[in-house]
């Protein structure tokens, strides 16, 4: 309740002395740069995902190695359509195992007008098959994402945001088992600082998955291959790089789903407010500790 709250400016990360009364506090949790880059990345990843699936649909198969095996076997994922005794079906072949995915992968659309395509129309930009437009959208947002990620990395390293808020510390690692148990029971502590699983998840996306996306993307470019041939070699060849690009996409989608569930579970109004306005309501502190959410 607002009337019981006090506003504590805490953007520099230092705990502000508070009284011992158990009150919830509004703290300034996310700087404008965090909020701005968050939304640029969210928007960019939305368009990158859907235009990326459009590009994937142009050749819906993934391989391991330098080239695509047309007359030898090195594929790990194939999405296609086929005829069965019950009519046309869509299938997905993962590591040689075939699954019937009619309706979603391989064959989808209205029942009287089924379309043989890997990812369905609702999952691609544009909805119809149009590799050229998919590439225009993909490369625009690839620039938007890469430029903001690089700027953010440099600025956050200089400002101390990385060290202070994102890099797990010794006591974060110590708290990890309890943090996992709390999350499993949907028991959340609202404090200014990220908990251990948050640090690992956000750090994993920002320091591992997104840079890996950019590197595997560049490794698919023939001109970058001429300039920096070791990149594709290091990643196991152009087709392996393409496969890693796809797997990292799936992990990012997995992150997104968990991210949404956690926001809903932890209190969507409060969470959304903090990433829009910066202000976040923390739990009433017990025993007077306001710097760490403890329970």
């Amino acid at each position: 309740m607002e009337s019981q709250s006090r506003i504590v400016q805490q953007s520099d990360g230092h705990p502000v002395p508070t009284s011992n009364r158990p009150e919830s506090e509004l703290v300034y949790r996310q700087t404008r740069w965090t909020r701005l880059t968050h939304w640029v990345w969210a928007l960019s990843l939305f368009f990158l995902l859907l235009s990326g699936l459009q590009i994937f649909n142009a050749h819906p198969a993934l391989y391991i190695g330098k080239q695509s095996g047309f007359q030898f076997d090195n594929d790990v994922l194939v999405i296609g359509s086929d005829y069965s005794s019950n009519g046309p079906i869509g299938y997905t072949e993962l590591l040689g195992k075939r699954f019937n995915t009619t309706g979603i992968l391989g064959l989808s659309g209205p029942i009287d007008n089924l379309d043989a395509r890997a990812f369905p129309a609702w999952a691609t930009i544009p909805s119809g098959q149009d590799l050229a437009t998919g590439r225009v959208v993909h490369f625009f947002f690839a620039w938007a994402l890469s430029a903001t990620l690089l700027a953010w990395l440099v600025a956050s390293a200089l400002s101390g945001h990385l060290r202070r808020d994102l890099v797990p510390r010794a006591d974060d690692i110590r708290r990890l088992p309890r943090d996992i148990a709390d999350h499993a029971r949907l028991k959340f502590h609202h404090s200014r600082d990220y908990n251990t699983l948050q640090k690992l998840a956000y750090g994993g996306v920002l320091f591992v998955l997104l840079p890996l996306m950019i590197l595997t993307g560049l490794a698919m470019s023939p001109s970058m291959n001429a300039a920096i041939p070791f990149l594709a070699d290091m990643l196991g060849g152009r087709q392996t790089a393409r496969t890693i690009h796809f797997v990292a996409m799936a992990l990012l989608v997995g992150f997104f789903i968990v991210h949404m569930l956690m926001i809903l579970a932890a209190g969507p109004i409060n969470e959304l407010r903090s990433i829009i306005t910066g202000w976040y309501r923390t739990d009433p502190s017990e025993r007077g500790n306001s710097d760490k959410g403890s329970a």
Partner: protein, 263 residues
């Protein structure tokens, strides 16, 4: 006590509402981007210029595409696009093993050329095992043999005002009410004079097969497959690309692919 804790049921209800909401947001909302004249599309296409300059800056003029070993040739070169031209002119040339075929080099040159296959094959050749990357996403490694393009350009003596090399092809790739469209494409003189840019007449140690572009195709190894026209019969040196096709410098470029196919 923590009043932020919510019941499992409320959590699951909220979660399923959120997911179904996301699933309902279909993506034909962005189909307007397919319109070539749409302002938003044109703004997004602006990034292509940045992509082009970044590639030119990083890859430079002379960096070489990766070359591979014989052991990496594990299959025939995958053909794409037109694989058996049914144009009468082409079929006539093919029936005579291309004895009457000529490569014409015209446009902004001091000495226009008309070269037979034998004349091309008598020139110094280059053989390279490279990876062909298709814009669709697949790759295939093959060995290519041909004349370095720079030698042909030197023989024709390119005029200083020339900027681009345009490849005119024998295959009709599109038949529509407005007529037939023959494949064409273009590269600039930086790529035309690149040491790995060859006019290939041989593949994997044999004569270039019809499905891969016989009697002559271009290899531009630092770009994607659509930049390497097959069934080439005329090379034209020009100072601009506006007057050809729809003005974007190639059949696929006219249909939305970037002119520089380096990524």
């Amino acid at each position: 006590m923590p009043k932020f804790q919510i019941s499992r049921r409320r959590f699951l209800t909220a979660a399923s509402l959120g997911i179904s909401g996301a699933a309902l947001s279909g993506c034909d909302a962005f189909d307007f981007l397919q319109d070539r004249d749409n302002g938003v599309r044109n703004a997004l296409e602006g990034a292509n210029g940045l992509t082009y300059r970044a590639q030119r800056l990083i890859a430079g003029r002379a960096s070489l595409a990766q070359e591979f070993s014989e052991a990496d040739i594990r299959q025939p070169q995958r053909p794409n696009g037109v694989t058996a031209p049914d144009d009468d002119v082409y079929k006539g040339l093919l029936s005579n093993q291309f004895a009457d075929w000529r490569l014409d080099v015209v446009g902004l040159v001091e000495r226009p050329l008309s070269l037979s296959r034998e004349q091309l094959m008598a020139m110094p050749s280059r053989t390279q095992i490279t990876r062909h990357d298709c814009v669709e996403g697949w790759s295939c490694i093959a060995k290519w043999t041909g004349v370095p393009m720079a030698l042909v350009l030197d023989q024709a003596v390119v005029k200083p005002e020339a900027r681009y090399v345009v490849f005119h092809c024998l295959d009709t790739i599109e038949r529509s009410l407005s007529g037939e469209v023959k494949y064409y494409g273009s590269i600039d003189l930086v790529d035309a004079r690149h040491p790995q840019t060859i006019l290939a007449y041989g593949m994997n140690g044999k004569a270039l097969p019809v499905e891969n572009g016989a009697p002559l195709r271009v290899r531009v190894e630092r770009q994607l497959g659509y930049k390497m026209p097959k069934y080439v019969h005329r090379i034209e040196l020009v100072d601009g690309l506006n007057s050809m096709g729809l003005g974007k410098g190639g059949y696929w470029e006219d249909r939305g692919y970037d002119w520089y196919g380096g990524i």
